[in-house]
């Protein structure tokens, strides 16, 4: 588990905020509290590990609004919503919008803590995945345009001869390009190269 992970709490009720901090800090996690969505946005920067504990009802920007705002910005911070009595409809809405979990007040401390731990683990996993994807993207960026073309055609499953015909060069040249691509991409086999290409392609499709 990443020790840098922080639990961000956004709640307009001061008592609720500090009591949650008191509870979560008892498990050894780092906690930061904010009284409004704006205050949180002012201090948060992307890439910070952790999870977000959000009160649904708040003056100003509400919990749901903050959640959708973060999603629009492309932040992958996992969100746990705290709802009051009878706010179930709203909680469903939040889950549909991509919240990781919701907890109804008054809640059991075990439930809350379990949810937090799950969220932090989720966050870490995603973060590692992202890291790998970024690296592969970097390697692809190092390729020359011709190598790029060759790699695209190779991963589509074309043979060297087919590639030579498409690009209008000799098969020998394609062979040389292919060897360079494998080397630059640090791919041991064709299968690995294809996986790398897929990973980057899914990223592109997502964003």
């Amino acid at each position: 588990m990443n020790t840098d992970a922080t639990v961000f709490i956004v709640d307009d009720d001061q008592a609720m905020r500090t009591s949650l901090q008191w509870l979560i800090e008892a498990t050894g996690l780092a906690v930061q509290t904010y009284e409004s969505a704006d205050a949180f946005l002012a201090s948060y920067y992307p890439g910070r590990a952790g999870c977000l504990l959000l009160d649904v009802r708040m003056p100003g920007m509400s919990g749901l609004e903050l959640q959708s705002h973060l999603k629009r910005q492309g932040y992958r911070l996992p969100v746990i919503l705290i709802t009051g009595h009878g706010d179930v409809a709203m909680a469903v809405k939040a889950m549909k919008a991509g919240a990781l979990d919701f907890i109804e007040k008054p809640f059991h401390d075990e439930d809350l803590l379990r949810s937090i731990h799950y969220a932090l683990a989720f966050d870490q996993k995603h973060r590692a995945h992202d890291l790998a994807r970024t690296e592969i993207a970097g390697r692809i960026a190092d390729l020359t345009p011709r190598e790029h073309e060759v790699m695209a055609l190779v991963t589509e499953g074309q043979s060297n001869k087919e590639i030579a015909a498409t690009l209008g060069v000799s098969a020998k040249t394609v062979e040389a390009h292919r060897a360079r691509v494998m080397e630059k991409m640090r791919a041991e086999s064709l299968a690995e190269l294809v996986r790398m290409a897929l990973l980057v392609a899914s990223e592109t499709a997502l964003s």
């Binding site: 008592a15 500090t18 009591s19 509870l23 008892a26 009802r57 009051g84 009878g86 007040k105 809640f107």
Partner: protein, 867 residues
Amino acid sequence: MEAAMLNRISIKPLLFGLLRRLPMPWIAILVGLIAGLAIWSVLDQIQSRQVDKIFGQELRVQLDLRAHESLMRFERQLADYAAMTRLLASHRRLSEYLEPLSWLEKDRFIPLVYKGFRPDWLPDIFDQNELSPPRLILLTDAWGQVREMFQSGEEPAPLATRVDTHLLERRGLRSLIEHIGERLYLLSSHPIEDANGYPMGHLVVLVAIDHAFLAASLHGLDLERAAVAIVDSDHQRIVASVNANALMPGTQLSDWEDTYEMTLQPLPDYEGAASSPLFATFVPHAAVERMSRHVRIFERRQRFIAATVFVMVFTGVIYLVSVRLNKVLKRMTRFSQRALGIADPGFHRGGNQLLLLEDWIKHFTQLVLMAREEMNRKHQAAMRESEALKVAMMEASLDALVTLDHAGQVIEFNPAAERRFGLERQAAIGTSFAAQFLPRDTRPAFRRLLDRSRHLRRAPQGRIELLALQTDGTEFPVEISIALIELEDERFYTLYIHDITSRKQAEQEIKSLARFASESPNPILRVSADGLIVYANTASRPLLLAWQADPGMRLPEAWGDDVALALGTGQPLEREFDIRGQIYSLLFAPIRDLGYVNIYARDITAVRHAEQESRQHQAELVHVCRLSTMGEMATGMAHELNQPLAAIVNYANGCSRRLQGGAGETEALIGAMTQITAQAKRASEIIRRLRALVGKQPPIRAQMDLNHLVREVRSFLEFETSRLGLQINLELDATTIPVQVDLVQIEQVLMNLIGNAFDALEDCPEAQRHLCIRTGTRDGDAWVVVEDNGPGIAPEHLGSLFDPFVTTKEGGMGMGLAISQTIVDNHEGRIWAESEPGHGASFHMTLPLAQTPGQPASNPENHWKPK
């Protein structure tokens, strides 16, 4: 004659027009110039003639003087030569020369001629005497024969041998002017003697009188301006002249008359036998003319200067006069404009001030005449008007007007009188008023009235109420007042006869009306200003018993004050009076002009009971309504309660985890515990408020701050506001607003209004929801406005908004605003709504300000008013 008239008529206005247009200074200059010219021309004529005359005389004198002077010089020259002759004749050298000589008559001899040199007997004296040497000096013997001769020139001697003895004077000197030959000579002779005194003969000096001689005689005189000549008187011919070129010798005198002015003087001492010479002085006409012209020009210049000075002085004087006139005119114009309101008479165009002044005076006189005429007309109009007015008054008067003469006969009878008495004016005039129009028994009273009016003169008019008689014999009551008109020789009475039939009837009516009060089943009383009971009807017995008073006695002091108050303000006053369970409502109606207060009482015990019951019902209704509001708010309250409870759970769990893990620091744990306590208190506060809201309390009024009330209500609704994501903005009056209210009821009203606003805002986007509560005071009232920017209220709903069971909400009972209105009405306040559809709605509530701060709530019953 006619033509002359026409001429005058046509010229005169033209002249006047011209005069009118010319300003005075111009006229002054013109007149001055003309006068100067006239004076100058007349003077010139007269004076020139006079000057000429004087000049002629003067010239004559001058010429004479000059002629005399010339003559004197000439004669002196002659005398000089004579003197020289005497000197030569008596000189010693001559006598010594003659000593040895003796001349006899018979002697034959040739005269001794000295030519070119001087003989011994001739001393050299000519050079010394400045006399030119004579032509010839002769020595003759006693018979006139020339013995010796001295000739100075080369010319042949005119006298060679002999000198006529008649030319010589034996005894002494003789000078003559003689023609010898063609020429004229001065012949001067003196007897000579030898040394022994023997007469020897004569010394003769012959001097030619020619131009040189004349010139020498005139030495020092201006020959240009005058010439002299010797004239032969017999032939009137010039013999010798000083200027032979100009006046040739031998010419006739008459030839020169045109050219010269001549003065002829005889020379009697030198007349010879043959000749009688005249001494002529010539002055050229041209010179005389020149001189005369100079004088005349000089004179004319003098006259011209004199005339100019005259014109200038004259013009100056008239100019000054015109300037003065101008000032006067301006002043008069200004005066007329200011004082008389006459418009500018039109002098601005300028012109002759005298004529303008005349015009102005004419204008002014005309205006004064017009004003007088106008006044006259006005006066006459006023007279006619007053006459017409008098007639109209007579005609239009509703009262009968009858004028009587001193005997009581009718002399004037107006239309109202005709109608009232049923008699034509023509028939009435001349009759005796008393006999015709009064029944027999009232006539003495009328007569007394007439007498009295005469004695009382003008001041209090005689006035009497009588029965009068119509012509058909019916009697009717009248009020007669008499005005006496006393003229110098006559006395009239004017009777104003007022028909009082209707008044009498009204009096009867009033008398019968007065019985109403006594018959009324409700107590009616009349009290004077000082609290004295003037009248009380029979129904007011219970009141009188309670007051322990009877008519004629005073009211108790507290009630007397109310009487005074009602009279003071002039407004009716309502009071209640509880007499052992019987409640009376007393209305104090002031009659200020009479100084009375009428008290109308009414037993309202039954009404009061009914009201009490209705109020209880209402209170219950209010409570029910509150409960329903509470039901609507229950969810919100539950959530609000959740907050502190959740916080407490969190703190407690946090504590136990720390304690289990052994990581709990005591101070942090104590802090958490303190937080738990605080949150528990918060929860209990919420519960208390809930109870206050739900609990049924008797209506109690207390003085409190309206601002505080608003803040309290806002705190009740905090959950709702956060649910809606809005803030209630408070714009409260800076100072406290004291109101005497039932706290719970007014809070209920406010909650109701705010709740409505919440409902209205629910459909708005969250960021645009605004709710504002404002308070303030105005004109003795406190006011609260709850304002939202929701969809507003449709105009058709505004009117029925406060009616019960009217609702626009799905789950509403339609009681909220109706209950609110009841509550506000009970507090003597007002509640209303204003809305601009699409821009929100505002609900206004006013409550009377508490008058004296700190006064305890009085019996609420007193403030209750039936609706």
